[in-house]
Symmetry: C2
Subunit: 225 residues, 2 copies
DNA sequence: TAGATTGTTAATCGATTAACAATC
DNA sequence: TAGATTGTTAATCGATTAACAATC
């Protein structure tokens, strides 16, 4: 308050820079709040959220702080207000159309998952380069040839691309997605992807969590190395 | 080497305690190595792995260090040797049978994903409490009533359970899985779960990565707050 | 030997946990 | 006012990045 801190830090806080760690928790709070709302409760304290999710109340308050929603001490937050704030913060108050590239095993699973609507996302079209897959439907979505992605991107005004192709192809696909005007890429290939600075990328490696679990299990079943 | 460090640290290193951060990277290396092997290359350096995955070579070496595989300086690692070491470390040299609980949206997607075999895991059976779903098949797997899980667990000798049910039910399901003799739980419900100390849990929240991406996208499309 | 790459140890960075004064 | 809960700041913890001597 009175001690002037390192200026670089001040700037970092001042602009709306995203703190990934906090953002990752917001969907959990939102999910819980939806349940609470369904039961017709008006207010909820950070304590109660924490208890339900089995985490520290401190973290709940810290994560929520970025939203700018204020609570009444002794009472807590207004459920609807907090829900709306999270949805607005994540941009989940509007559905984002996404183009899914890759109709293989993972692509098929993603196309078949009907829960993305809850997270403000809709898979608008599916693409592949394999002529055997092109023309078929995947969970009711038609598979287009990847050549057509630029025109489809323009038609749908999609902002997001989802990469579910083999490692080697991932970077190349990303390049084309950028050319097609895509601004955000959700990458399921276990490789880091290079994109221009105005494009945002998030890589999700499904196998990572399973690897940790498998290792722990191997240890538990067979201790002493 | 000569300075005696804090004893607690020494113990922590001494026993085979898992470092989650390193373990999370191993599937990526494995995936790349499988490609390299397919092209009939015998050796590979940490530098090359790092280049292909677009990360720092230092990290590759550090992560690989836990495996106890040694490389020849100036040449690198023997591909097959390194692959086998990773698979053994993760217990992926044997397939683990898993019981999937929840035949909803996410459960259906997981049951439909045919790629888990690559990660040493097989979904042996699917369970739900909804009578409409019980008896149906999900991607060729029959859906059993959750009541039957204890007996099925014994028949299949499954060690792993996968939770894909709504938040509120997650803890309860976990309790039953433990009673059924399950040792490892892969939890897709965005809640922290309590289990006895001899049971291992890993929670994967699909929405977390999407939340970060959505927020960054919202920022990119609409800067200045 | 010389060049290249390893493997380990130290330094930075970020995220989680703890503490506590401010507020309703 | 008293009790309860917030919101912010400091302390701990772990993970990533950097550095460098050891090795083939």
């Amino acid at each position: 308050m009175d001690q002037p801190t390192d200026p670089s830090k001040i700037i970092k806080q001042a602009d709306g820079d995203v703190c990934p760690a906090a953002t990752r928790w917001l969907p959990r709070y939102l999910c819980f709040l939806r349940n609470v709302e369904a039961v017709d409760q008006q207010c909820v304290s950070a304590e109660r959220i924490a208890a339900a999710l089995n985490i520290e109340p401190d973290r709940v308050r810290q994560d929520i702080a970025v939203l700018g929603v204020t609570a009444r001490a002794g009472v807590g937050f207004v459920v609807v207000e907090l829900m709306n704030a999270i949805e607005r913060y994540l941009g989940w108050d509007n559905i984002t159309d996404a183009l899914l590239v890759g109709a293989g095993r993972l692509g098929a699973a993603l196309a078949g998952y009907t829960g993305f609507a809850q997270y403000g996302m809709n898979i608008a079209a599916v693409f592949d380069i394999d002529d055997h897959k092109v023309g078929q439907t995947l969970s009711g979505k038609k598979v287009h040839h990847f050549d057509r992605i630029v025109s489809v991107a323009q038609e749908t005004h999609a902002h997001m691309g989802i990469i579910a192709v083999p490692n080697e192809a991932a970077q190349e696909i990303a390049n084309v997605l950028v050319l097609a005007g895509i601004r955000a890429i959700w990458n399921f290939a276990p490789v880091r992807i290079n994109v221009p600075p105005n494009i945002v990328v998030e890589t999700t490696d499904l196998a990572a969590g399973l690897a940790v679990l498998s290792r722990k299990l191997a240890d538990a079943l067979n201790p002493r190395r």
